[in-house]
Amino acid sequence: MEYIPNILFAIVLILGIGYFVKNVKKLSRNIKLGKDLDVSDNKPQRWKNMAYIALGQSKMVKRPIAGLLHIIVYVGFVIINIEVLEIILDGLFGTHRIGLKVLPTSVYGFLIGSFEILAALVFVTVVIFWLRRNVIKLKRFLSAEMKGWPKNDGNFILYFEMVLMTLFLVMNATDTTFQSLDSGNVISQFISPLFSGLSEGTLHIIERAAWWLHIVGILVFLNYLYFSKHLHILLAFPNTYYGKLTPKGQFPNNPTVTKEVQLMMDPNADPFATPAEDENAAEPEKFGASDVQDLSWLNLLNAYTCTECGRCTSECPANLTGKKLSPRKIMMDTRDRLEEVGKNIDANGGKFVDDGKQLLGDYITNEELWACTSCNACVEACPVSIDPLNIIMQMRQYLVMEQSAAPMELNNMMTNIENNGAPWPYNQMDRLKWKDE
């Protein structure tokens, strides 16, 4: 009988981690639906970027207030989670504060004391975050794409963190043995008077309840990640590692097009040759992207990494002047469509069955795509190296090269370039006239 809590704990732990692993596999499967992309170059620079941008939060602090608040939660999250190790060991072995058995009281007290201070700081910070979203109403949290689930998602995460921090502090405050040590109860000593007058038994029940709710809460939160925007706490690391290294202005040259152009320019190619009949020949490759499977896996990793902070949108010239384009929405749409495709695959025994929908049109409209000035402000603004512009450009390629659906003025511009080598209808032979004017 005395092992029941241990067994129960082990089951909860296995379920919690098992379900998380299952979803991580799904996440990885979905990301791999994207096209291949070679990112094996320049590893030292990539590690450096990950260290500076993700670990070092270098781009977060470009906005000092949000950046500082974020660092508190980030550091708190990472450090307080050391405590989870003790909780897991206690849970499995039926011990109580196993750390005290292996560490000197002063060291243990120092550790728990630091966790308590951080927990209190995180709690205050999370309250400020909540106020920014719900009372101060910062503009970037109010855009059209932030209505409904994305808004609730943001708040749920904050409530989760408030509750988890509270449970940690209450757990310490109601632990009479811990309080009597008088080492490390930096914050909880001020909470424990709230529980004075309660019997030893009641205190023990509250302490146990807080302990269980805390660890179960952490496991639930871990599993909530997959269903929320909050995946960035994990994906920011690979995403900054794989982030673009070339100058921002350098857009990749579409290799499918290069093949075609080479064929056209090759003087030895027979222009009238019929394509060789090959039963195994792959379907001709599509130009550009109309759905998530046409994008690269990095575009898809970007989409899952986005935490909807909206810094991109708040610096987008199109969005600032009231156009429909919002780079954040491009990322959210890509993720939502990818999730839809993933569910479709799960429901159809591992194979995608055409659902008559696609990213273009059903999620992202032509109007949004044509409003982009390709200025890279969104790419610069992203604290975790997401590139919404790359997706926009691939979708424009599909619109123009597969559908000839460019706005009329752009078609005129392109016809002019084709006919007379300039975007305007001037004669190529007049190209040096400026010299004598």
Binding site: T246, P247, K248, G249, Q250, F251, N253, N254, V257, T258, E260, V261, M264, F287, G288, E315, P317, A318, L320, T321, G322, K323, K324, E367, T373, S374, C375, N376, A377, E380, M393, R396, Q397, Y398, L399, V400, M401, A406, P407, E409, L410, N412, M413, M414, I417, E418, G421, A422, P423, W424, Y426, Q428, M429, D430, R431, L432, K433, W434, K435, E437
Partner: protein, 262 residues
């Protein structure tokens, strides 16, 4: 401009058995847009002044394909690029200077993958070099002591991280330079990039160039300095929209420097 500009073409140079050190890539805007042509000429005046060994492609130059690429027509872009690369490689071009940040970006970053490898300079970088090497002397500007501001072209600044060269040049003019609140890495687009120059904007509550002009007006400038023919057009239109064209000039750095020369 009354004085005679010396603008040799690659073809002429080749006929004379010469291979100039630099190709001046004029670009479609620089060759055809009325406002941009003035910038082209001002820059050539400076090249002549500093005795730079250069030539242009003239009628052998074709559009860089930048606008086509950003509009999504990768096919047209690559055709243009391959055609231009063929011509430039035939003339054994090694170094290119251009006054258009869009062409600068595409030739510098996107042509190499298609067989065109050149050392590419934006005219602000090049002028800055000429001055520091003592090949070009800048005299006091007509706007000495007057307030000026600078609009970073996206494809020069954010896209290629050239922030210092234009600012160094402005410093030589003896003007009172004031940054806009959004500058350098965080500069706001003028609204022309991504092929927007060639189409009407989507529905919104303001034009981007007007918003950017408002940023500029906050610094109370006598001159809004640009370094891109498209930015120049957009800012000029923005100033007109704000009915400030009588008080504020929109000028390229090359023009301001050329005006200090006799």
């Amino acid at each position: 401009m009354s004085e005679q500009l010396n603008v040799p073409t690659m073809e002429q140079m080749m006929a004379e058995g010469k291979n100039p050190e630099y190709l001046f890539w004029v670009g479609s805007a620089g060759a055809f847009d009325d406002r941009a042509k003035k910038i082209t000429k001002a820059f050539v005046k400076l090249l002549n002044k500093a005795n730079v060994d250069f030539a242009v492609l003239g009628t052998e130059e074709s559009d860089s394909g930048d606008a086509a690429k950003r509009a999504g027509n990768e096919f047209l872009f690559q055709m243009q690029a391959v055609t231009n690369i063929e011509v430039m490689n035939m003339y054994e071009v090694k170094k290119i200077i251009t006054t258009d940040p869009h062409d600068y970006n595409t030739i510098k970053n996107e042509y190499p993958g298609l067989g065109g490898n050149y050392e590419v300079f934006h005219h602000t970088e090049f002028l800055s070099q000429l001055i520091s090497q003592g090949k070009l002397k800048v005299k006091e500007s007509e706007f000495k002591g007057k307030k000026v501001t600078f609009h970073d072209p996206c494809y020069l600044g954010r896209a290629n991280e050239v922030f210092e060269a234009p600012r160094d040049l402005i410093q030589t003019l003896g003007v009172d330079f004031k940054e806009m609140k959004r500058n350098q890495r965080h500069s706001l687009c003028c609204g022309a990039g991504g092929a927007q120059m060639f189409k009407e904007p989507e529905k919104g509550d303001k034009d981007i160039n007007v918003l950017r002009t408002e940023d500029a007006l906050e610094t109370d400038p006598k001159v809004i300095i640009t370094a891109c023919p498209f930015c120049n057009t957009m800012m000029t239109d923005g100033v007109k929209a704000k009915e400030k064209e009588a008080e504020i000039d929109v000028m390229d750095i090359a023009e301001l420097i050329a005006n200090t020369q006799e």
